[in-house]
């Protein structure tokens, strides 16, 4: 078979179909993962002791177990208690739970780094604790969490390939199918790798732009510490 025919008529169309699923997985997971991360970090840091304990336990469980295990439980395990999810839904739920737990830790680190005076000043003006967190603490903490959160987003791009293990034919899965059918492992997986590289590169550039746009004037270090 002609290389060009294989590449353009077989491999790339299959990968593009897989890519669409991968993008759907990411787009359906990332926003909720971020929201969950914020909620869990705030709950752990500022919530009632019971809520704080709940948040800590959730992060502990997710951090301590493989994502693949979580996906197996959600897809293969839950039907035995009467909850049946589609493979796509189970994947998204697993990704949100995983993404949320790691995001929560990045955000919690940023919350801790905001000086106490910010909260004190907000409360001294008559703001409630919640108003202070929302309008003063979080806007600053989220800026500081961007490098960590973008890292976690990039992980999400890559661990979305685990959906293949519960039958969702996303990018990696599509590559695997072509590879085994046409016995073209090197070409197929190299092509899959390049698509991931492109995705991650786009993310990195987007994050750089975002970081510059939300930077608070006067606080960006003009001199990188390597030059000090």
């Amino acid at each position: 078979m002609d290389q060009a025919v294989f590449l353009f008529d077989i491999l790339l169309p299959a990968l593009m179909q897989g890519l669409v699923i991968t993008l759907q997985l990411i787009a359906c997971s990332a926003p909720f993962g971020l929201a969950l991360g914020i909620a869990v970090a705030v709950g752990r840091q500022y919530g009632h002791p019971a809520i704080s304990w709940l948040c800590r336990t959730y992060v502990f469980l997710i951090k301590g177990t493989p994502l693949l295990l979580l996906l197996f439980i959600l897809y293969f395990g839950l039907p035995s208690v009467g909850i049946t999810l589609t493979a796509f839904m189970a994947s998204i739920l697993g990704f949100i739970l995983c993404n949320g737990a790691y995001n929560a830790e990045y955000i919690r680190g940023a919350l801790i780094s905001i000086k106490e005076g910010q909260m004190v000043a907000a409360r001294s003006l008559g703001m409630t604790r919640w108003q202070a967190i929302r309008s003063v603490i979080l806007p600053q903490a989220l800026r500081r969490a961007i490098p960590g959160l973008s890292n976690e987003f990039i992980y999400l791009i890559k661990y979305s390939s685990l959906a293949y293990m519960i039958t969702v034919i996303e990018l990696s899965g599509a590559g695997k199918l072509v590879a085994t059918k046409y016995f073209t492992y090197t070409e197929s997986f190299a092509a899959v790798g390049i698509v991931y590289l492109v995705l991650v590169s786009i993310t990195t550039i987007a994050v750089n732009i975002l970081e510059k746009r939300v930077a608070v004037p006067g606080t960006v270090r003009a001199t990188p510490s390597a030059q000090l």
Partner: protein, 251 residues
């Protein structure tokens, strides 16, 4: 003196941290338009006292009254009282992610529920009061310490407080910046703002204070007009304390 003149009443405030009693029963009344200055060695509870007044630090015992209403034990209404009791901090505590004008606007929008246009106008008016109108669109990191402190004074003023607490407002500033902040505070005092000021600036205390309270070991050790504490032979503690500052400065 009419009782209605008393805007703030502080009764027998006690506060301990980890078994160490920082405040051991402090009481005083503040009349409307009065400036009281608190002086004394570090660690004698002056800052803690201010924070007990607006409940940023809840006192162990004692009560605070604002305009006849109890501030202590007021539950969720504390947020109402805190609007009426402004506070200015040693390290300014401006909201780092907001411009000067937005620092002043924030509580107007969130706490007072003003419209954006209303809040903007009020914020600019307050910035004008402290001479920071031209810096409205600058961020805290772009301001000098003196400028930042003036913005934080504007932020407190914007809530139309009955009284403003100043917690060592110039201690983080060099002499020149100190002067510009003290000028603003003098102007406020002259315009009738009620102020409680913890400071080491004796010049400010003598020229502006209606009353000086010299604190030591968690109690008010001496109390009276600046003139009285400095010149009456019955009072010695504060003179000793200032004397030590003066002799250090003449070295």
């Amino acid at each position: 003196m009419n009782d209605n003149d008393i805007v703030l009443r502080v009764e027998d405030i006690h506060k301990s941290f980890g078994g160490i009693e920082v405040l051991r029963g402090v009481s005083f009344d503040v009349r409307r338009g009065e400036t009281k200055v608190f002086i004394g060695p570090s660690g004698t509870g002056k800052s803690t006292l201010l924070r007990c007044i607006n409940q940023l630090t809840p006192p162990d015992r004692g009560r605070v009254w604002l305009d006849g209403e109890e501030v202590t034990n007021s539950g969720a209404r504390i947020n109402h009282f805190r609007q009426k009791i402004g506070m200015v901090f040693q390290n300014f505590f401006l909201f780092d992610h907001l411009t000067a004008v937005k620092n002043v606007e924030l509580a107007l929008l969130k706490v007072r529920g003003m419209s954006k246009a209303e809040a903007r106008e009020k914020a600019l008016t307050e910035l004008r009061q402290v001479g920071m109108e031209d810096w409205a669109e600058h961020y805290p990191a772009e301001l000098s310490g003196g400028q930042a402190q003036r913005v934080s004074i504007a932020r407190a003023l914007a809530m139309d407080p009955d009284v403003i607490l100043f917690d060592e407002p110039t201690s983080a500033l060099d002499p020149e910046l100190t002067r510009e902040v003290l000028e603003v505070m003098k102007k406020l005092a002259k315009n009738g703002m009620t102020m409680l000021v913890v400071t080491h600036e004796m010049g400010f205390a003598c020229s502006v204070a209606n009353e000086v309270l010299f604190m030591e070991n968690g109690v008010v050790a001496e109390q009276g007009s600046p003139d009285l504490l400095l010149n009456d032979p019955r009072f010695t503690r504060m003179k000793d304390f200032i004397g030590r500052i003066d002799s250090r400065m003449s070295d």
